[in-house]
């Protein structure tokens, strides 16, 4: 087949136009009508949590409920520890806010329940090279474990230590080594993957509140939409004195504490 210069350029031009259309077709595919959001899922503009530290001491019920439903491994070696939500000292949760002149029960014994803050400006999302960590439209900072390559940039970036790395296979942990003990509704992770609290995104999709809130004692935890002025969390944050962890860093956490 012979082709003159003019015809070749025409064909090449049309071909190049077609290539330019590729990204557009990808965009269209993103709104695939074959995929639907769950009908009974909770919808929010910006999910937030209020933790009341004035009620009672440790909240082990909330912690164990979370760790159980998310198959968080309990390793014997403390250096392999994986945690999504945990108790820490007041002075460590709020550095700079504890002073030596405080009553000792606040400074030393008052503990704070801490978890991923699901920041408005999440530093972990900025540093993730594979976009395994990303921020959803409803404010949840979520991990796509499939994409995590285990570089741990996010762990270095998170000012709250909210992330844990799987140094060993989580299924080798005593609580996950038998299939019967593994909760069947949530996958485990694999070795070499970072994990953290997901604000129970999988439960919100079924219309349920996060497991820690549901299991917290004395109603010390509240979950709701900060974008909805009528929600419980909005009303409390508007009416009571609340603080957030390391506010000065500008990450804008979504977890508020009543102290």
């Amino acid at each position: 087949m012979s082709m003159d210069r003019r015809k070749f350029l025409k064909v090449a031009g049309v071909g190049a136009l077609g290539l330019a259309g590729l990204p557009a077709s990808r965009l269209l595919a993103a709104g695939n009508p074959r995929f639907k959001a769950p009908a009974d899922g909770l919808q929010g503009e910006r999910w937030a949590m209020v933790v009341d530290l004035t009620v009672g001491a440790h909240d082990d019920a909330a912690i164990s409920a979370c760790h159980k439903i998310h198959n968080v491994p309990e390793h014997a070696n403390p250096r392999h520890e994986v945690k999504w939500i945990w108790n820490t000292d007041y002075k460590h949760a709020f550095p700079g806010l504890a002073t030596e002149h405080m009553p000792v029960q606040y400074r030393e014994e008052h503990s704070a329940l801490v978890l991923c803050n699901h920041c408005e400006n999440p530093p972990c999302v900025r540093v993730c090279p594979t976009q395994a960590t990303f921020k959803r439209a409803d404010g949840i900072v979520l991990m796509d474990f499939h994409r995590c390559i285990g570089c741990r940039f996010c762990m270095a970036a998170c000012p709250y230590g909210a992330r844990s790395f799987n140094w060993v296979d989580p299924r080798s942990a005593a609580n996950l080594d038998e299939p019967g003990e593994t909760m069947l509704t949530f996958p485990t992770r694999s070795k070499g993957v970072v994990e953290k609290c997901n604000f129970c995104a999988e439960r919100l999709a079924r219309g349920l509140e996060p497991a820690c809130v549901e299991n917290s004692s004395n109603g010390r935890m509240l979950f709701g939409d900060l974008g909805d002025p009528g929600s419980d969390v909005s009303r409390i944050i508007k009416s009571k004195y609340t603080i957030r962890r390391k506010q000065h860093l500008g990450t804008e956490p979504s977890v508020f504490y009543i102290v």
């Binding site: 993103a30 695939n32 009508p33 074959r34 995929f35 639907k36 959001a37 769950p38 009908a39 899922g41 990303f134 959803r136 979520l142 796509d144 474990f145 499939h146 299939p179 019967g180 593994t182 069947l184 509704t185 949530f186 996958p187 485990t188 992770r189 694999s190 995104a201 999988e202 999709a205 079924r206």
Partner: protein, 131 residues
């Protein structure tokens, strides 16, 4: 031809060596055995047609994974309008209850090793409404 006495036997030995895996497999018991997938009892259709699933299940699962995790969609509307919960353990394995007779049958045959089950849990008896 020079050195016929050396070249011809050499060629025969070379061919025998190169073809030996093919000849060996051709004579073994598994020769010509192609894995056969059957529908679970009482079922006549997977989420999509048999042909589509055979050719595209990996892409389908990949799309499911992307949209569930990243876009928060959990329901899949199939070609025939039926709706499915997009879940590997909860949807696929709730019908095809035995992984050994479903995933493994072809994957072992083709020597492919997807790492789904490093994290996802092989359900012994998983209720259908679960994730």
């Amino acid at each position: 031809m020079y050195d016929k006495g050396k070249v011809v036997p050499g060629l025969i030995i070379f061919l025998a060596l190169v073809l030996s895996p093919i000849i060996y497999n051709g004579m073994s018991e598994s020769a010509g055995v192609v894995p056969e997938l059957t529908y679970p009892a009482g079922e006549t259709r997977c989420v999509e047609s048999k042909q589509y699933m055979r050719e595209n299940h990996m892409q389908l699962l990949f799309d499911w994974r992307e949209t569930v995790v990243r876009e928060g969609n959990r329901t899949y509307v199939a070609e025939d309008g039926k709706e499915y919960n997009m879940s590997l353990s909860g949807a696929c394995l709730s019908c095809h209850t035995k992984k050994e007779e479903f995933c493994d049958r072809c994957h072992t045959y083709l020597k492919v090793k997807p790492y789904c089950w490093d994290c996802h849990i092989i359900p012994p008896q998983l209720p259908k409404e679960n994730v």
